[in-house]
């Protein structure tokens, strides 16, 4: 089956920043992404878990964004502008996609 080269960007970011990230991505023309929930984790600021939490303050989300390689840089710029002084992690992986016309 015919596949095409693309980049898979996964951004783990604080839930409170979701709207700002989405808007920032849209501004640079990235309109395709999928948001996965996060249960908990661990980092320099210690362990955390969403169990029993009501406030959105301590939650994170995982934003998966598949794009054409040539658009990676503007995406990373946009993401970095939001991450900035916030906690969060960005990873970029090479991948192949079906239906390239969608990206």
């Amino acid at each position: 089956m015919q596949t095409h080269k693309a980049k898979r960007v996964e951004i783990t970011i604080e839930a409170v920043m979701e709207r700002r990230l989405a808007e920032s991505l849209e501004k640079v023309g990235v309109t395709g992404f999928t948001i996965l929930p996060v249960l908990g984790g661990s980092g320099r600021s210690g362990r955390w878990s969403r169990e029993g939490q009501v406030s959105r303050a301590s939650g994170m989300i995982n934003v998966v964004c598949i794009i054409r390689p040539e658009r990676l840089d503007s995406l990373l710029d946009a993401a970095f502008g939001v991450l900035d002084r916030h906690i969060g992690v960005v990873s970029v992986t090479d991948c192949e996609v079906l239906r390239a016309e969608r990206f």
């Binding site: 029993g52 009501v54 301590s58 900035d84 002084r85 916030h86």
Partner: protein, 334 residues
């Protein structure tokens, strides 16, 4: 004094406090007891809806008290002012940085609706009435403290949230909208308005949902709060230097004192004064932490969450509320 102790003792063996203690202990013992996030959120929606509606229906029943507007204004002022008091106290007795101190201060100027709910349960159990609009006062006190805290940071020469850097944010319209329209404020005020509009007739239709089972739902919610508070405290014990600990207890007492003065000047009922003390003494752990993560991301969340949820909330629940009631009774109770 004896009366206070007796009241405190009685309060301590109520199911709601004991379920909080159970959660707290279970977290410390590292039990895997836990309430799913969705259920915790569902319970909190229920509590906000119920307490808001009942407040509104009570206003509808007793008419708009002349002091309603004054009380709302007093709440606004208190919420603006308390962060300055908290900030001063913090800079005096703890080594917190300006940003951390301002973030903590925002929490103590705002309010904890569950503390309010618990206090109103204690009043009901004690057979005391209170002004129905106190729930609206609590609602207006949620947000102003955040602005005071951001101003404190800005004054210290540090832009609250970076117009520096690429993203060009700031205490922009967007953040302000988020703060003022956060879910708990909207539901609390919305339910209050609906209660006020539909009055006793509306209450009659949903009473079996929001009145009778209320205390039981509160037990389950406080079990969860105990679990979350206990887990937080367990994981951040190292953080709590004596200065912070002292603040976590002194500040609610200070807030309560200001609330007492305000309530007295307003001429509220004993129950109303006690509630004004309670909200002033309480610290936010839902709306303000979320706003701080956006506006002051450099502030350490472990500090403000541990103080608000791990120290001040249990303090108010177990010791503070009975004290506030006793003091209000001694000074203003016939």
């Amino acid at each position: 004094m004896d009366g206070i102790l007796a009241l405190a003792a009685e309060n301590l063996i109520s199911p709601i406090i004991l379920f909080f203690a159970l959660g707290f202990a279970a977290a410390f013992a590292r039990s895997d007891l836990s309430v799913p996030e969705a259920v915790a959120k569902g319970l909190s929606l229920y509590l906000l809806l119920a307490i808001g509606f009942k407040g509104g229906a009570s206003v509808a029943a007793h008419g708009v008290d002349a002091t309603l507007i004054m009380s709302l204004l007093a709440g606004l002022v208190l919420s603006f002012v308390l962060p300055f008091v908290a900030f001063g106290l913090l800079r005096m007795i703890t080594g917190l940085s300006v940003i951390d101190a301002a973030a903590v201060a925002a929490h103590y100027g705002s309010i904890s609706i569950v503390t309010f709910v618990t206090a109103s349960s204690v009043l009901t159990a004690a057979g005391l009435v209170f002004e129905g609009y106190m729930v609206a006062v609590a609602a207006v006190m949620e947000a102003p403290a955040i602005l005071s805290a951001l101003w404190l940071v800005a004054r210290a020469g540090r832009p609250a949230t970076g117009s520096h850097g690429g993203s060009g944010r700031g205490l922009d319209a967007e953040l302000l909208r988020e703060i003022l329209l956060n879910g708990s404020i909207v539901l609390l005020i919305g339910a209050f308005a609906i209660g006020a509009i539909t009055g006793q007739e509306g209450l009659a239709r949903i009473e079996a949902f929001i009145v009778a089972p209320f205390q039981g739902v509160l037990c389950l919610f406080l079990l969860d709060m105990g679990l979350v508070a206990g887990r937080g405290l367990r994981d951040t014990r190292g953080l709590l230097r004596p200065g912070l600990l002292a603040f976590g207890i002194l500040m609610p007492l200070t807030g309560a004192t200001l609330g007492l003065v305000a309530g007295g000047l307003l001429g509220l009922s004993v129950g109303g004064i006690m509630l004004m003390m309670t909200v002033s003494a309480s610290a936010s752990y839902i709306a303000v932490p979320a706003a701080m993560r956006v506006a002051l991301p450099e502030a350490n969340p472990a500090i403000y969450l541990t103080l608000a949820l791990g120290i001040t909330f249990p303090f108010n629940l177990t010791i503070g509320i009975p004290i506030y009631l006793a003091v209000a009774k001694v000074i203003f109770g016939g």
